[in-house]
């Protein structure tokens, strides 16, 4: 199926991670505004019939929050957000995230927009899926220049969850908070363990055999291109036009 777009593959990969039976159940997922692929994954899970509540931040109509943006953080503090997505201008081998900037604090080399709620969400959501399409030594670094949100904490620090996995345009890494290391879980088509090593600035574990990331099934593709796209048109018009060749009605 050469007509599978990378975005579709990534959405399907994320959907399977959401449903991972070994992870805590995902009853309520929050998705940030600039995250069309994670949003597509969540809608895919929803359209597959799984009972999941989606809080799509910055959705203009039907914004689920009536306390302003505080409510997402309060919900997460209460333990009601099961899964959140985070990215990072830099991500390191201990799953530390840098959303602030490179170089001297507060980002004198390249300033990123800022940490948003990451320093809180990463510790207080039941789990986090890290997602960054660009997979390069520039992004995946040995050690982030500045830690916006820490991958693990010292023993005794209250923390509800950690990174479950890191999904990139090249592969899926599983994160192991007990040893603060990633392991390679699957390779997207065209990638090898060696190509991943070259593109990755941090060391990671490699199991004896590393499977290929499975293709989205025809059923998944049909849902993505149909009902998932329908739901996303209002919030992500450019994404839907580019990936699904669909435009919102004027």
């Amino acid at each position: 199926m050469s007509d599978i777009r990378l975005e579709e593959r990534l959405a399907a990969v994320l959907a399977r991670l959401i449903l991972d039976p070994e992870a805590p159940p995902a009853r309520h997922i929050a998705v940030g505004a600039a995250s069309p692929i994670p949003a597509a994954a969540c809608w895919l899970v929803h359209k597959q019939g799984h009972p999941v509540r989606l809080s799509l931040l910055h959705k203009r109509s039907g914004n689920p929050f009536t306390e302003g943006t505080r409510e997402l953080f309060d919900l997460t503090g209460q333990g009601r957000i099961d899964l959140f997505f985070l990215g990072g201008g830099q991500i390191d081998g201990k799953a530390n995230l840098n959303l602030v900037g490179t170089g001297e604090w507060p980002g004198r080399s390249v300033r990123f927009p800022g940490s948003f709620g990451s320093a809180f969400m990463y510790a207080m959501a039941h789990r986090t899926i890290l997602f960054r399409e660009e997979h390069s030594p520039r992004v995946l670094v040995e050690q982030v220049d500045n830690i916006s949100a820490a991958g693990v904490n010292e023993p005794g620090v209250f923390r509800r969850g950690h990174a479950q996995a890191l999904v990139t345009g090249r592969c899926v890494f599983r994160f192991h908070p007990d040893r603060a290391r990633f392991s390679l879980q699957s390779l997207h088509p065209g990638e090898t363990v060696e190509s991943i090593r070259e593109a990755t600035g941090f060391a990671f574990d490699v199991p004896e055999t590393v499977p290929q990331t499975p293709d989205p099934t025809p059923a998944e593709l049909a849902l993505l291109r149909g009902p998932v796209c329908d739901e996303m048109l209002e919030t992500y018009p450019e994404f839907c036009a580019r990936v699904f060749d669909r435009k919102a009605a004027a």
């Binding site: 306390e67 953080f73 507060p106 320093a119 916006s148 209250f158």
Partner: protein
Amino acid sequence: MTSPISLEAMAASVPDGALLALPPDNSLPSVALAKALVRRGARGLRLLGVPVAGFAADMLIGAGCVAEIETSAVSLGEAGFAPRFSAAVKAGTIRVRDCTCPAVHTMLQAAEKGVPFMPLRGLIGSDILAHRPDWKVVPNPYEGTGEDPIVLLPALQPDVAIFHAVMADAEGNVWLGRRRECATIAHASKRALVTVERVVPGNFLEDERLAAGTISATYVTDIAIAERGAHPVALLDEYGFDAAYVSDYARMARTEAGFAEWLAREVTAPQAAQRAVAAE
């Protein structure tokens, strides 16, 4: 009760150096008042993004109005990084106090309740915490001695809350629906300056359907009418986001010269305010 004042009079009432609390681009910023502050040549402002800052903040920074910003992020959303903010950080011409979203809310809620601090979970291990000497890590007093470190954040009382609401009533109450961070900002701040699309008769607090989305006149220092005052940001179901306007800004503001040209055209030229209103 409160008679509306002019937008320029409202801008004049904001002193140089004041700490201004601004809502984000998805929650009713008063872009109209930000432009008026540029026109009045405000200097040394300290901005608080609640919890993030956007278009208005980048414009104020570019225009040289801002000495310091405390925020969890500055972003133009889909239009990308905030160009004048990024340039100012690189040049070292702005002090940045990086924050994290729930910490902004918590510091304002502490001011709203009149308590000197509030705790917040998370944050430990982040360099954001490491760069905030005003945030303290203490053992949770509800655990055994010395256990369970937790962060305390001080109350933060802005000098002026600035936002845009849909409408004001005859009593000086303003209605803005579910965007209740604006209520927290107003409660926590010493003064609240609110621009509105229109003033209507009556009292929103007498109407059960409107009361929940109303900020009481108790907290509202002054009101100014600014039609399309959030533009290019969306205003509830009143008007949409003007993506083309923000993209144009993002493109021109990549350079100092381009920003100056944009500013002259959209803000400081005699008819700029009116043109901006008709821009979409």
